[in-house]
């Protein structure tokens, strides 16, 4: 009985070790593949985030140019030369265009501020100093925003993320 038990134990133990070893190899290989994929995924995610950020920054710049042009156009519509043929419709049109450009602009700025405000981005791009890069720019945006709300009193465009971020930066 003891002999059979020893034989069984030996056979069973030997078989178990072999299967265990193979399982371990497969698991290690799978772990290696998973780790490689994870690193590649993280890298691709980082590149994607960077691309999204660059696109958003470009969008804000483009909208900034459009807004500046619309403000210029609006004030040009009331210059001496233009007023020789005084046309209220033209002035209203320029004002409406300015309002539309403002809406698009503040929306994109607020999106950018919400992205910068997240911890996620700070972890992804630890070498970038967002405050140094954007504080002055955001202060200018605030001047435009305040002027707009002064001029267009029924303006409903809110910029909660932007205001929150600027407030935080001003405190520091």
């Amino acid at each position: 009985m003891l002999e059979i038990y020893k034989e069984c134990t030996f056979t069973s133990s030997s078989s178990f070790n072999w299967i265990g070893f193979l399982t371990l190899c497969v698991a290690a290989f799978a772990l290696y593949i998973a780790r490689t994929n994870l690193i590649a995924l993280k890298r691709s995610h980082k590149v994607q985030s960077h691309m999204n950020l660059i696109n958003l920054e470009n969008e804000v710049r483009r909208n900034n140019v459009k807004l500046k042009e619309s403000i210029q156009e609006h004030t040009n519509s009331t210059t001496q030369e233009e007023l020789q043929n005084y046309d209220p419709k033209k002035i209203i049109q320029a004002k409406t265009n300015r309002e539309n450009c403002f809406e698009i602009y503040v929306t994109s700025v607020d999106k950018l501020a919400s992205l910068i405000g997240t911890d996620y981005l700070s972890k992804q791009f630890s070498n970038r100093n967002w405050k140094e890069e954007y504080h002055d720019f955001f202060k200018k945006v605030m001047v435009i925003y305040q002027d707009h709300t002064l001029e267009f009193q029924n303006s409903e465009y809110k910029i909660p993320n932007f205001e929150k971020l600027l407030e935080e930066w001003n405190k520091k």
Partner: protein, 84 residues
């Protein structure tokens, strides 16, 4: 409220005059004098429009005005905002 030719002209002249000033202390007087020429019910739109012209200077014309233009623009905007 849409302003008329007269108010737009006063506003434009006021802005150009302020930009050329060397002494910022006279800005308020110039604004007050110009406002006196405007009908009571149009004073607010007039000031808002003038402020808008100064915003345009800040965003688009600052390099062109030179001198004390920037300082005058900022001071004028501060004064106008208290009056609106």
């Amino acid at each position: 409220m849409i302003l008329n030719f007269k108010e737009y002209t006063i506003s434009k002249n006021l802005v150009e005059e302020i930009l050329k000033l060397n002494n910022a202390s006279t800005i308020e007087k110039l604004i007050d004098d110009a406002t006196k020429k405007i009908d009571n019910n149009k004073i607010r739109p007039f000031l808002i429009h003038t402020n808008s012209l100064f915003l345009n200077v800040l965003l688009n014309r600052l390099q062109e005005v030179g001198g004390k233009g920037e300082e005058n623009t900022k001071r004028a905007r501060e004064i106008i905002r208290t009056k609106i």
